[in-house]
């Protein structure tokens, strides 16, 4: 039992939570505008390779994150072009983007790094303890002794919530996702809003990708994302397109993920439970929770529906 309430387990949970929620927030912005981006896994993968390489060559994690963000945005805008301007089927295009991102990322990596003896490594981000807050026993140790990107993720949850529900622009964005014609008839440029959502949401996806090599592994491997993009996509539904609820979901999944990681490292468990079962745990958990939670979840009404002003019904 003490294993489940271990301090280092909670700290690891926060560490694992950050990329999930950052990707999830990006996807939330995109979906709120009426675009379903099922290419998310591919876009996050591209973010992790560009983030890793730029950090490796420039020596600055900040530059790495910025370039990762940009690359995520560019690939998401490709999806936007097909979905908004060409009005293609978003599922088909999204799957195309997924495969493209997954394929192009290792290619970029090999072109840049070539064949080498030792795998390139970057130093993982240091823990920054927030003065005062970091000193609070228990709470402070869990939440405020983390790397900078974890703090960024807290900030983004608040910022995206505020944007969606407390700004005129957020109201307009949600209107485009619910009923684009209603938005159009009050003078909102639906295509521009959707492009904007994809551009900004894509930044988030790129950063979420960069997080993985910069914080967790220190290097790039082909399947570095390992389903986290899909998990973020599910977390959007789990949170019913509301950032705070997605944050709760991300914490839950990250906890199970961290738990499995810790237990696998203990030799006394390896004899009883095969490690594969433990690795499976977060995903099984995801399925069970989603089946319960997703029932009756209401998506934005116009999700996946292209908007054509002159379409007649």
């Amino acid at each position: 039992m003490s294993l489940m309430f271990d301090m280092s387990l909670f700290q690891l949970t926060m560490l694992m939570m950050a990329p999930l929620i950052i990707a999830c927030l990006g996807e939330t912005i995109i979906e709120r505008s009426g675009i379903l981006n099922v290419g998310i896994e591919g876009i996050v993968t591209l973010g992790s390779v560009t983030g890793f390489l730029l950090t490796y060559y420039s020596g600055s994690a900040v530059i790495g994150c910025l370039v990762a963000a940009l690359s995520g945005s560019v690939l998401t805008l490709l999806l936007a072009y097909f979905s908004i301007t060409l009005r293609a089927n978003q599922i088909v295009i999204g799957l195309g983007i997924f495969v493209l991102g997954l394929g192009i990322s290792p290619t970029i990596y090999r072109l840049a790094v070539g064949v080498v003896q030792s795998i390139p490594q970057v130093p993982t981000l240091r823990e920054i303890s927030i003065p005062l807050l970091g000193g609070i026993p228990f709470i402070g140790e869990i939440f405020f002794r983390q790397n900078g990107l974890v703090y960024l993720s807290y900030f983004l949850v608040a910022a995206v919530s505020f944007f969606l529900f407390k700004t005129p622009l957020g109201l307009r964005l949600r209107a485009c996702g619910e009923n684009p014609r209603a938005a159009d008839t009050v003078g909102i440029d639906v295509a521009r809003m959707r492009y904007g959502a994809c551009a900004v949401g894509g930044l988030f996806l790129g950063v979420a990708g960069a997080y993985l090599p910069l914080v967790i592994s220190g290097s790039f491997t082909d399947n570095i994302v390992n389903g986290r993009g899909w998990l973020a996509l599910m977390l959007v539904i789990f949170g019913r397109w509301i950032p705070v609820w997605s944050f709760v979901g991300a914490l839950l999944f990250a906890y199970v993920d961290a738990f499995q990681f810790k237990v696998n490292a203990l030799p006394q468990f390896a004899k009883i439970i095969p490690p594969q079962f433990l690795l499976m745990l977060p995903y099984v958990f995801a399925m069970i929770v989603l089946v319960q939670v997703a029932r009756g979840a209401e998506s934005p009404r116009a999700l996946t529906r292209p908007y054509d002003r002159e379409a007649r019904d």
């Binding site: 957020g170 209107a175 159009d184 008839t185 003078g187």
Partner: protein, 516 residues
């Protein structure tokens, strides 16, 4: 007319095509300040298209628009709002899970960075009070009845600065009483200097409520006349041209015409679950043989759910459905069809046809066990012969029986579905027809044809359950009318003469005792 009316909106030589269809052909139109101007015409006459151009939703191919004497370019709804044009669409364009206030503010929130709904509340309330519109501002729009939603949309247009207010078929979703209220409001708008343009196909509304009338037919403007010059006959003549109105058809006889024996349909204490939409609560009524029973109600009060529950698409929680005396509550859809039920679905594209298959194949659907001689084999020639026969008999406009069904116009698709149901009824001696809004969106001729088919079924002794949101149509067709409100049957009326205000009160949720 001697005095010159100052034109507020002028449109010259407006043309618009959708693919090969010329929806508007060099139309001129003008409306004056302070008048209620009716655009009258059949479905497909081009009136909505013209107004969609004025409100910036459609781009015209040719033509010019001037507002208050100045020529304007309207390329988007934004341009239209800027020159003071606001439109209330037939199916209101609101966002269901926003509050009324959020819907009104959307696009003109009054601040750039911080959304402060409360700060704008007083100005919206003031506007509402000025125009005599009372609206619960904090309710989610989807929970409001259609009449209130419409008021939200009107207030939204006014908040966005409209002084030219366009309403597209504003009365279709309203009860007769609500219609009166709406026109009282519109008249006060006009008195206050607004230009009100309303689109309709109902002649009586035009005669009762407007100052001038512009009549459209087949994408052309026929003429604009003053209310004083208009008579029913003249408007009909302008609307229908050479064709004239279709013959009225036989009036309903009332419940006394019912034939003996078990009723065609008998519904007893039916309840359904809320997961299928509007839950039905203790629904009981009969459809006797040889009668048309009308189901009146404002859209979304359980009509669709009732039709689906009767057809066997929704399971009953409680209650029984009898067809000709047989309990079919436990039967599947096909079981019920075999027992004599036939259904005309509401959404003709989604549920009625196979869009990419040919007309002949669409006709054969459901009829196949009866006309194919060998089981399990598609007999091409039989199907084609059936298709040719149906096209000729039901006057369907199609090149031949090989055309994919989706290529037909809405009216002809509906004729196709009606033809199939009627042929099926003939072939198998069907005893019950459930027609769910069978004439929605059809022009007068096509609607009259559908009415004729239903009357013919009645004459043959079948029972017809006729569901419609158009109360006038119901009164014209039904031997008796039952009223549904939020999944409950609130009362019934015997024909052939009806008091539409009494029916309307029930449609709005008042109990029958309170009304009479």
């Amino acid at each position: 007319m001697t005095e010159k009316i100052a034109a507020c909106v002028e449109m010259y030589g407006v043309s618009k095509s959708f693919g090969e269809v010329r929806a508007l052909d060099a139309v001129d139109f003008e409306a004056a300040k302070g008048e209620i101007h009716a655009l009258l015409g059949e479905n497909g006459a081009g009136k909505t298209t013209l107004m969609n151009i004025l409100s910036g939703l459609y781009r015209m191919d040719e033509g010019q628009i001037a507002v208050e004497g100045r020529e304007v370019d309207i390329h988007s709804p934004q341009d239209a709002i800027a020159v003071g044009v606001g439109m209330v669409h037939q199916h209101v364009e609101l966002i269901g899970n926003f509050t009324a206030l959020e819907n009104i503010l959307l696009g003109r929130e009054g601040s750039r960075w911080k959304l402060d709904v409360e700060a704008r509340r007083s100005s919206v309330e003031e506007l509402a009070a000025n125009y005599g519109l009372s609206i619960p501002l904090d309710e989610q729009v989807k929970t409001l009845p259609a009449g209130i939603q419409q008021k939200v949309e009107i207030l939204k247009a006014l908040y966005h600065g409209a002084d030219i207010l366009i309403l597209d078929e504003p009365t279709t979703m309203l009860t007769p009483h609500e219609v009166d209220v709406l026109f009282t409001i519109l008249k006060s708008f006009a008195k206050g200097g607004l230009t009100v343009i309303f689109i309709t196909h109902k002649i009586q509304e035009v005669l009762d409520n407007c100052d001038r009338i512009t009549v459209f037919r087949g994408g052309r403007k026929i003429d604009t006349i003053l209310r004083e010059e208009a008579t029913r006959d003249r408007l009909v003549q302008m609307m229908m041209g050479e064709r004239g109105m279709p013959p009225e058809g036989e009036r309903p006889a009332g419940p006394s015409a019912a034939r003996g024996g078990h009723p065609a349909l008998s519904v007893r204490g039916v309840h359904t679950s809320a997961k299928w939409g509007v839950p039905l609560k203790n629904v009981s009524f009969d459809v006797p043989r040889g009668l048309i029973v009308g189901l009146a109600g404002i859209s979304g009060n359980g009509q669709k759910e009732l039709a689906e529950a009767l057809a066997g698409l929704i399971e009953l929680e409680e209650g029984e459905v009898h067809l000709g005396g047989e309990d079919v509550s436990g039967l599947s859809v096909s079981g019920r069809i075999a027992e004599g039920m036939s259904l005309l679905p509401q959404d003709r594209i989604e549920e009625g046809i196979l869009p990419s298959l040919s007309l002949a194949e669409n006709f054969v659907l459901g009829l196949h066990p009866h006309i194919f001689k060998r089981r399990g084999v598609f007999e091409r020639e039989t199907a084609h012969a059936l298709g040719r026969k149906a096209i000729a008999e039901f006057n369907i406009l199609a090149r031949n029986e090989h055309v994919p069904a989706a290529h037909l116009s809405g009216g002809n698709i509906q004729k196709t579905i009606v033809a199939r149901s009627v042929m099926l009824a003939h072939e198998t001696g069907k005893t019950l027809m459930i027609a769910n809004n069978p004439t929605r969106g059809l022009d007068v001729m096509a609607a009259s044809f559908v009415h004729g088919c239903l009357r013919e079924l009645r004459a043959q002794g079948a029972g017809v359950l006729f569901i419609s949101e158009d109360l006038d149509e119901l009164c014209l067709m039904s031997d008796c009318i039952v009223v549904i409100y939020t999944g409950e049957i609130l009362g019934s009326f015997d024909g052939p003469e009806y008091d539409i205000y009494q029916i309307g009160a029930l449609m709005a949720g008042q109990k029958q005792e309170e009304v009479s």
